[in-house]
């Protein structure tokens, strides 16, 4: 049972909607054209998974946030390798390695 208050039913519905693609006979997705709600469901799930599975989460998050505020956006930093990659793979499956671009539209981010 999930205990975090951030993980609602809506999040898991949206997430399973996105992941329904994995059952189709097409290659793993590379580009996602999704709605803001899907994006927030995805990010919430990944961060939640990271929080659950690693002790270093708070440290990793602080470093990641500082880097983003400086302008470094990367999936290849040390903290990604230690904490976030595993979480991404657990949530998205094969898509964690193949998704290279996300286009969000249909509402405020």
């Amino acid at each position: 049972m999930r205990s975090s208050s951030q993980f609602t039913d809506a999040t898991s519905t949206l997430l399973s909607d996105l992941l329904s693609i994995n059952s189709l006979p097409i290659p793993s997705p590379t580009l996602l054209f999704i709605k803001p709600t899907h994006l927030s469901a995805l990010t919430t799930s990944v961060l939640e998974e990271a929080r659950k599975s690693s002790i270093l989460y708070s440290l990793a998050w602080r470093h990641k946030l500082a880097a983003i505020l400086e302008g470094f956006m990367t999936k290849q930093s040390l903290w990604d390798r230690l904490v976030f990659d595993g979480a991404r793979v657990k949530v998205m499956g094969k898509g964690a390695g193949t998704v290279r671009g996300v286009v969000v539209s249909g509402g405020a981010l």
Binding site: D17, L18, S20, I21, L24, I26, P27, S28, P29, T30, L31, L32, F33, I34, K35, H38, T98, R100, G101, V103, S105, G106
Partner: protein
């Protein structure tokens, strides 16, 4: 998800300059049938019983043709005196075998095509090829006319969203959370066709569920 049939129908109607109506929501079906009755309706087999009910309720004297994608459950419907119900696969097969009439290409200049069987109007990029009906926030029915130019501009814009260094290519797979019944969803689908990528939509974009009677939000 029957994207192939949708895209083929869309492209066929557009290239022969036959205007099409697209609904973003199934609840719009009865108002549109009353105000803008179409000559033919393309639907999925799961929705066929509901569609037939609606047609019988609204128009008793108009002859409709219904084109059905998917397998028809013949137990569920029987009255077809006033309607012509055709299977999409049959229509496609017959069309593929026959002679292809010349297709009008969007062009501002009229020019002779070799061996025309009948006069073809050359269509303008600014011709309306589809009307998309949607509900305003206050609940009124509204329609947007889309031209060939609109859709082409949409595809060009969508391609430009990615930087040139990592542009779209046939190696990509596009996943869209936007229904093909919306303009944006359609544009994404056509971008996928243009770039040769793989394409899929998520389950939430479906308008017609297997139960048939539900109308999705």
């Amino acid at each position: 998800m029957y994207h192939t049939e949708y895209l083929i129908s869309d492209l066929a109607l557009a290239s022969y300059s036959i205007p099409s109506f697209v609904l973003t929501d199934l609840s719009l079906l009865s108002p549109v049938l009353e105000t803008h009755p179409p000559s033919a309706i393309i639907t999925h087999a799961d929705f066929l019983p509901n569609l037939l009910e609606l047609i019988y309720d609204s128009h008793d004297n108009d002859r409709h043709t219904v084109l059905v994608v998917g397998d028809i459950d013949t137990k569920k419907f029987s009255r077809t005196e006033k309607l012509k119900v055709l299977k999409w696969e049959d229509v496609e097969r017959i069309g593929a075998q026959g002679d292809k009439p010349p297709i009008s290409t969007p062009s501002k200049h009229h020019y002779l095509r070799c061996c025309p069987r009948e006069p073809i109007l050359s269509s303008d990029p600014q011709d309306v090829f589809t009307v998309s009906f949607f509900l305003t926030p206050s609940g009124d029915l509204q329609g947007t006319q889309l031209t060939h130019e609109n859709l082409t501009a949409g595809v060009a814009g969508t391609r430009a969203l990615l930087p040139l260094s990592s542009a779209m290519s046939p190696l990509d797979t596009i996943v869209s959370a936007f229904s093909l019944n919306t303009s944006y969803g359609r544009v994404i689908a056509y971008t996928a066709v243009y770039e040769g990528t793989n394409f899929a939509t998520t389950m939430s974009t479906r308008l017609i569920t297997p139960e048939g009677s539900e109308i999705l939000q």
